[in-house]
Every structure is written in structure tokens, then in C-alpha cells.
Subunit: 342 residues, 2 copies
């Protein structure tokens, strides 16, 4: 790095004996520059260790090559995986990232965020925070007014909105069907907080699998946690109490399943003989639980990657031809992993 970044296009032009525009042309790889001029300019750039000022470029181009990313609960397993996919793919495709984390999962205070991204001339936005309660309500009012592309992750299909999500319903259904095919008749469920769309989908998959196989569903057969291991423990104790004949359980995520394993052990229940357990998410650690946990693996990294790829394609279309982009609903299938717990 040169001592100071103050070298501008002007310095290069002067030293190379050309106009600033010519330098700009070289910078942008335009073809209408003679080979030798280009060579000379490039040489001077190298000598001066010239680095173009991206802010000035953004301002005059009206394009920043920056995406806004909205995340929430970064300290949890899922969101950080997704963000990792986003950063990698963005890097790959030549985009930088402006990052904002919501103060809480169900924050509805989104307008300032949108203004902020817009003010920084983000070319597009990835909304990588989950749908909870009415935290998508703003969409109906605000969405039509936003003039930059937005991709949403993990939410219910909605008209005109591009969404990338894991198919939670099918994943859950497959897990429960596996339990049914293994001969279990009394399959309970610990749901995540039902204010979350994902939690409702997973619970829906559980219900549907049971119903389709002629096994009834009722209130005794499930309880609700808040995704944390601690809440899972409480929910499990409650469930064992009200559904004593339970011989298998589908748990809303791996963390809650972890404490089901711990509590079962403490109660002297053998897994999977007395109680089969399947989780959801496929955390790497779940393979090393006692016993190793069957789970529904969802590729959250890929979720982020797809969102970025989609956004790039939308922005570039948008930019090049100013045409309206077709909204898409993109679904990723999770994968059932059977281990010792089932």
C-alpha cells in the first residue's frame, strides 16, 4: 500500500500525459484506447500505486457493487451459516456487503434500514432474517415503493416477492414418516416458537405425516420451545408428562433435541429403544451427541449463495435493460440423516 491514498485519476493522467477520461477508460477496460496508451497508463498507475476511489465511482455511476444484508440473531447457528454463504458468493461475483443486524428477531422497524441502504446506494438487498409474527407486514405497504431488488430468505410464498427458503414442511414430514416406517405409533413433537414461520411449517409436516398415515394428532402430543436447549428441556419434561405413551419424538431443531437426549438419559430412557429422536438443522455437532442424533439437514450456506446469485442476476438485468424481473419462489430440499437416535 502506498503511504497515502490521495493519488487520484488526475495524477495518473498528468503523469501519463493523457486526459482523465482516458485514464477512466483504461480503468473500466474500455476498448477504445490504443494499446500503447493503455500500456503507458497502466504503468503509471502501478508506479503511483493508484487505487480508484469506489465512493466516487458509486456516485457517478449510480451503481455501487454493494449489497445490503439484513440479518438477525447472528450468534445463533442458522443465521451465521447463511451469512457465510452470502459473503462467499458475493465475493465470488464481485460484490461487497453492507451489513445490518436487526436488534431483535421480530423487529418491525425496517424503514430506517431501507433508507440507510438506499442512501448508501446499495444495488440490492438480501433480507436474511426469518419471518416471525408480523415482521413481514411492512412488505405490503412498502414493497411496491422500493426501487431496488430485494431477496427474502425463509418466508411464506408471497405475490411479487422473490424468496429463497428451505422446504421445512417436507423435511419435517420425511422425518416423521421415517419414524412411522420404523414402527412408531406415538410420535410427539417439540415445536419451535410458533410465531416463526419455519416452526409452523415443521409442525405442519409432523401433523400431515401423522394424519396421512391414519395416526391422530391432538394437543397432548406436542409442546413448544424457543429453539434453545434450555427451553427444549422444559418442553420435553412437559411433553413426557402429558403424553407418557410417546415412543418417538420429532424435535424442531438440534439444540432442543440435545436436551431431550440429556433428559432421557437422566430418566433412564434408552434411545432409540424407548424413545426415538430426530432433530432438525444438521448441526455438525449433532453427530457427536450421546447417542448421535438423527436430524434433517438443511444447507443454509447454500441458501445464502443462491440468494446472492439471484440478486446479482436481478440487479444486472435491472441495470442493463431496466426491465421488470419475474419474482421467484426458490425452495431447497433438506436431507434426512439417520443416526443412532432413531
Amino acid at each position: 500500500m502506498a503511504k497515502t491514498g490521495k493519488t487520484t485519476i488526475y495524477d495518473v493522467a498528468e503523469k501519463a500525459g493523457v486526459s482523465r477520461q482516458t485514464v477512466s477508460r483504461v480503468l473500466n477496460n474500455r476498448q477504445d484506447v490504443s494499446v500503447e496508451t493503455r500500456k503507458r497508463v497502466k504503468q503509471v498507475m502501478a508506479e503511483l500505486n493508484y487505487q480508484p476511489n469506489a465512493v466516487a465511482q458509486s456516485l457517478s455511476r449510480h451503481k455501487s457493487y454493494l449489497f445490503g444484508v439484513v440479518t438477525a440473531g447472528l450468534k445463533y447457528f442458522g443465521p451465521s451459516r447463511t451469512l457465510s454463504g452470502i459473503t462467499n458468493k458475493a465475493e465470488e461475483l464481485g460484490y461487497g456487503l453492507l451489513l445490518k443486524e436487526l436488534e431483535s428477531f421480530n423487529s418491525t422497524n425496517v424503514i430506517p434500514l431501507l433508507h440507510w441502504f438506499k442512501s448508501h446506494q446499495a444495488d440490492g438487498i438480501i433480507w436474511a432474517a426469518p419471518e416471525i409474527e408480523d415482521n413481514r407486514k411492512w412488505l405490503t405497504d412498502v414493497f411496491p415503493l422500493i426501487d431496488i431488488p430485494i431477496i427474502f430468505l425463509t418466508m411464506e410464498e408471497q405475490k411479487d416477492v422473490t424468496i429463497v427458503t428451505t422446504d421445512n414442511f417436507s423435511g419435517a414430514k420425511a422425518a416423521v414418516e421415517h419414524l412411522i416406517h420404523s414402527g412408531h405409533k406415538h410420535i410427539g413433537h417439540i415445536a419451535g416458537p410458533l410465531s416463526w414461520w419455519e416452526a409452523r411449517q415443521r409442525k405442519g409436516g409432523w401433523e400431515t405425516a401423522l394424519t396421512e398415515h391414519g395416526l391422530g394428532v391432538n394437543e397432548r402430543m406436542w409442546t413448544q420451545g424457543n429453539w434453545s436447549s434450555k427451553s427444549g428441556k422444559i418442553a420435553f419434561l412437559e411433553l413426557v408428562e402429558k403424553y407418557p405413551e410417546m415412543d418417538a419424538i420429532f424435535v424442531g431443531n438440534d439444540q432442543m433435541a440435545l436436551s431431550v437426549l440429556q433428559s432421557s438419559l437422566e430418566m433412564g430412557k434408552k434411545i432409540p429403544q424407548d424413545l426415538a429422536v430426530i432433530g432438525f438443522d444438521g448441526m455438525p455437532e449433532s453427530e457427536f451427541y450421546c447417542p448421535s442424533l438423527s436430524t434433517v439437514y438443511q444447507n443454509q450456506d447454500e441458501l445464502g449463495r443462491i440468494a446472492v446469485a439471484e440478486l446479482v442476476s436481478q440487479t444486472e438485468e435491472n441495470y442493463l435493460e431496466n426491465k421488470i424481473v419475474e419474482p421467484k419462489y426458490i425452495t431447497i430440499q433438506p436431507e434426512l440423516i439417520i443416526r443412532q437416535s432413531s
Copy 2:
């Protein structure tokens, strides 16, 4: 949000019947505007739903209120926690974030990154990736040439560089001393990859505690993993083999400790009677392992928060008075949490 973000300071000025400068003054809360002019301008801004263009502001102010953040291994537990602390504190102090993730932990290809941040006029940089192998080597050459403040996380003290880190050495030492005081005489260690500074520090704490208490240390007493649960399992099996009298073990992180618990159970070893186990990190799940895991909790969120606070103070000093800022070495003490495994 207004339909288009095209409203500029000029539109406001025109509609309010003042000059653009006056609008700018109102925008920046300058005092040299009459009360009624200010009121009128503000009113017009509201009517027009005017939002200042941050890119233009950055360009003319030479200050962006943006920090660059370099992270690595976002999908792992630690880095995402730290990033969460960074996002929260930055938001609190009015700074936005430009995010980059290294392609690998030990990437040494940092110059383009620094150029990129600089090109986007970041006011400062937080280097939230761990010190591994020679991935800090560039510092000696490049650091003196960088003219924006950088704060590093998790690395060895170094002249002229501001660093915020957990005291891994003391945390490890305290854990091992706890084992010693509990009467254990044969305390093994599974280290993280010793190319990592943190892993070396933790191993150093283990060695020092043993040595200070007159217990010898030799090569039979430790093995090395790569932080993952899978590697922990392999390392543990190897260690049991070569150090059969081991009655306690200090493991480099919680993930590897998890598979120690699993393997011990499979071998029929009782924890903590046959083998006491202590991990490092304090992941929330560790409380729900079988049995619940004793561990050394480090507050990585706080690490990020402190880094941002420090960076803000450095940039603002830097900006206001152009004076050189004293480098600091800031250390956070981790906390020993004793649970059933020890």
C-alpha cells in the same frame, strides 16, 4: 419510502426557497441557521421525504461512518459471536459495516482487502480473524503504511498495534488448576491446531499449571485436533492409548470436548469419576451435553463490542485532531464454569 430516492438537497432548497448550503446546514445540525428557516427546511424535507445521499456525503466529507470488518470462518461458533457484538455496538455508535470474510483462516492475501476498504473510504478496520501461522506477517511491512486505524482481535501483543483478546492462557490455567485442586494427578490435553495462537496459549496455560504444581509434562500427555468434534474424537482415542493413566482432561474447545464425552460413554468410562473433562468457549449447548460440560467461558460478543468502541474513539480522535493514538493491548478474562463433567 418515497417512490424514488431522487430527491436531492437541491429540490429541498428550491421548494423551501433557500440555498442548498442552508439545507446542508440544517442537515448537519449547524447552529448558524435561524429558527424559522430551520423549521421550514425541515418541513420541506419531511414533505419530500428527503433522504441525504450518504455516498455523496462520504465523498465530500472524507468520512463515511463505515467500518471495514474482516472475519473468517463465520460458520463456526466464535467468529459469528464476535461479529454479533461488532454489529450491535457499531449500530449503537452510529457506524455502518462493510463486511469481508477471508477465504480461509490462514489467508495471507490481505492487501487487496485493505485496498478495498480504503477505496470505500472506511473510517477504520476491525480485523476479527484469528492469528494463525504467518497470517500476521504482513503487518510488519504494511502496517506502517496504512493510514486508517485498525483494531485486531485475538492475537499476540505486538508493538504499535491495538489488540483486543481473551486471556486464553489464564483461562486454561485456571481450568487445569481446578482439576489439580480436585485431586487429579494425570491431566491430559487435547489442543487445538497449534498453528493457532489461541491453541498455543491454551496449551501453555495447561503446561504452566501442571509445572507450577510439580506435575511433569511430556509428549504422551497431549494430542492435537482441529477444533471440530470429529477431530476431537480421533485425538481422544489416540490420547487414551498413549496416556492410559489419565484421570482428567482439559480440551481446547467445547466441540472437541463433546466427542470426548461421547467416546468416554462408549468406552464405559464414567464422567467425572473415571475422567473429569473441562472444555473451552462456553457454548450455550455445553450445559446440555451428557453430562453437562464444565468449561471456560469467553465472552466473544464483548470482544467485538470493545473493539468497536475502541475503534470509534480512535477514529474520532484521529479525525478531530489528527493526533497519533496510543496502541493498547486489551485483555478480557474468561470465566471458569464448573458443571457435572468435573
